[in-house]
Point group: C2
Chain length 428, copies 2
């Protein structure tokens, strides 16, 4: 039996408490699998007195996470405070400078400061591990960094914000508008303190940015991501998409093209019968496509005490076993700066519009599409009581540029009764 591995845990919210529980409950199992005892030396959190459902009395307490990170009896600093800057970043930097390995669930910190932190860690021969930052309990960081490392990744996609997927599936199942389900989710405590992090796609975008860095060997570049949240997804579009055989998901897609790295987090249509289309509620899914492996799909709980703590502990056990891989799968200094590319790769699009009910209206729309070199796969015009006819169109594959030309052309026809909705259909 080797020396115990000694942890300092900063942040004792749901996940932190979950980590403590695993260490206490599965003590023998963890030792059998790593050959080492996993011990907690000290912990830190905002309030010492709060009841967290775990016994913390045997651990030292530090009010200051930076002090915790530097303790001599800490080998691994476990950062579960959250926040891209402030104490989380200060303590992580202190840990690295003090020669500690770091395990974190902090997607925001890494999406913004990941390159600098990884370089600092590697300069000190330390590792930063972040399985828990992406897709909760799904071991996707490990799969991408290690298991699938022989692959040139061609595309990576994911539904990685459980709250958004909950809202979208709840809207569909209960036939409720966005605003109403948003309020429900808020009342249930499903949303971050700043809900824009969830519904604006920022949280999921942070996760995708981290996966893209590993997949393509590029520096994390969250700022280059095309970001659109679910705030404008209407129950009308959800129902119309279902009618055409699709479901709407907040889907992240990163793919390397000849023009550069496309990365976007936005509502997309996916086939209802595809694995992504079948995803209900808060479950997460990540799809990796590689030149050798083809398509691999991982699915699991994207949040919650147990799943996220499982991911944190997976990283801790790797460190206990001596598994040391660069933060983003290759030395941070060797990561290249990807040229960001507009998300213009060819895809079918879904269009929904209302046309004035007069002769030739539909012909004008079809003509504009033809002039933009966009061909129509399927079209439906619905019966209607008022003066505007609801029309759905699914195009064949086209580019966003061509689509934008068509949308401008539509406006000039004078037959639109309202702004058309255009949503990319991601082929999976």
């Amino acid at each position: 039996m080797s020396e115990p591995l000694r942890l300092g845990i900063a942040g004792l919210g749901t996940v932190g408490a979950g980590v403590v529980k695993i260490i206490q409950r599965n003590k023998a199992l963890l030792e059998a699998r790593t050959g080492r005892e996993i011990v907690i030396s000290a912990v830190s959190a905002r309030s010492r007195d709060k009841d967290r459902g775990v016994n913390l009395s045997r651990f030292d307490w530090e009010d200051d996470p930076v002090a915790l990170a530097k303790r001599d009896d800490v080998d691994v600093f476990v950062e579960l405070m959250g926040g891209s800057d402030g104490p989380a970043k200060a303590a992580t930097e202190a840990a690295i400078n003090a020669g500690k390995d770091v395990v974190t669930a902090n997607k925001a910190m890494l999406a913004i400061h990941g390159q600098a932190l990884a370089e600092a860690a590697e300069a000190n021969c330390r590792v930063i591990r972040f399985e828990a930052a992406v897709a909760g309990g799904i071991p996707i960081v490990k799969a991408l960094t290690e298991g699938l490392a022989a692959n040139q990744v061609t595309r990576i996609m994911g539904v990685m914000n459980g709250t958004c997927n909950y809202i979208l599936t709840r809207m569909e199942n209960a036939k409720l508008p966005y605003e109403e389900v948003f309020e429900e989710a808020n009342a249930l405590g499903y949303l971050e303190a700043d809900p824009t992090l969830d519904v604006g796609g920022i949280d999921a975008g942070h996760k995708l940015a981290l996966l893209a860095a590993i997949a393509f060997g590029t520096k994390v570049n969250f700022d280059a991501m095309e970001l659109e949240g679910i705030e404008r997804v209407s129950i009308e579009d959800i129902e119309a998409a279902a009618d055409m055989g699709y479901r709407i998901k907040l889907l992240g897609v990163a793919q390397m093209t000849g023009r550069g790295l496309e990365s976007r987090m936005s509502p997309c249509l996916v086939p209802a019968e595809s694995p992504l289309g079948q995803l209900e509620n808060a479950t997460n899914m990540v799809v990796v496509e590689g030149d050798s492996v083809g398509q691999v799909v991982l699915r699991g709980a994207g949040a919650g005490e147990g799943p996220t703590a499982s991911a944190v502990m997976g990283d801790v056990l790797d460190i206990a076993r001596g598994i040391r891989v660069s933060t983003f799968g290759q030395p941070a200094q060797s990561l290249v700066t990807a040229k960001p590319a507009k998300a213009n790769s060819a895809a079918p699009y879904y269009l929904r519009m209302h046309l004035h009910d007069k002769p030739g209206a539909l012909a004008k729309i079809a003509t504009v599409l033809g002039e933009s070199s966009i061909s129509i796969d399927r079209m439906r015009q619905y019966g209607h009581a008022d003066a505007a006819a609801p029309v759905l169109i699914v195009t064949h594959k086209t580019t966003r540029d061509a689509l934008d030309r068509a949308l401008s052309g539509f406006a000039a026809t004078g037959v639109l009764a309202s702004d058309p909705v255009a949503i990319r259909i991601e082929t999976v």
Copy 2:
């Protein structure tokens, strides 16, 4: 840049050729990710002259895989010959004794000799890695051994023989009987030379036995598995199951119970809308349930050149990076001998029977079920032209023991026109 990692590859079939292609095509990528050049020192196969679509001229050739395994210029012996004994085992043992690490895709060898080989490797401080032996390109061995290592696994399930899943989905989609689809699959070259390995569930059983060892920290025990192939799955049952909302899959399930380790590979019903139920054709899926993570599902190609070679190379890259984990996730000497338990854990069952068309027949069947403490969830009797009425029953959860009592009781009623079919419904 560290020293190159030098491979000796024995077996140049589809997978071996795929490994060579990855090393040649993704050379720069592999170096960037591991910090080492991955080189092939020598290869071995039955025929030197066969065209494999890859250039082997720069590698030394060995007729004898044992000689290859012992070469001084080989760090990792890559065993892709197959077969539980014979040259594969001899060369693997030789490699271990010569101080080489081993990467293998050989499920049969490990399912039978895995404990002895792992002990030998660990006595020599060498690793045996076998990601490619289980579920093709899906990185399930790594996920289970490392990413999910903090979990007490409660159950592991998988559809892990692509050929069987192809046959079952083809039967359903084309409404063809087993024998006809079997012949089709054979003509397409989908079956092993000994088809029983596929359709008898043996190949999938080997894979499940390996995963169970990791999941439960137990010695591999393929012999204790309850094994039933797909040969007796009828198109009638496939259609009747579909009618009740289920699909039939050759499903492996291992779970630890108070009575011991249940492990079985057998046709099961799964809900048609579950991830397992939606699995088409040769795709594989593994479901892991852990005490912290809940349910994690991995899906991907279960066979083929690219996916299997991706898995082989994932293991090679781990070795290049210095990742060294015990073959079954903990030292082989510490694996315990699991007590095998009859697959008697409670589950709903599907029953299909034909009853003589006379008053009271159904009542007698219902009475026998009641006397066996089995309650009926759903029952359907279908219209019929002949003298025997087709009846489908889905029970509430019951044990196999209770079910066997009921089946005996049915026989004594005299109302059965044929032997009843009983298939477990796996709740997922």
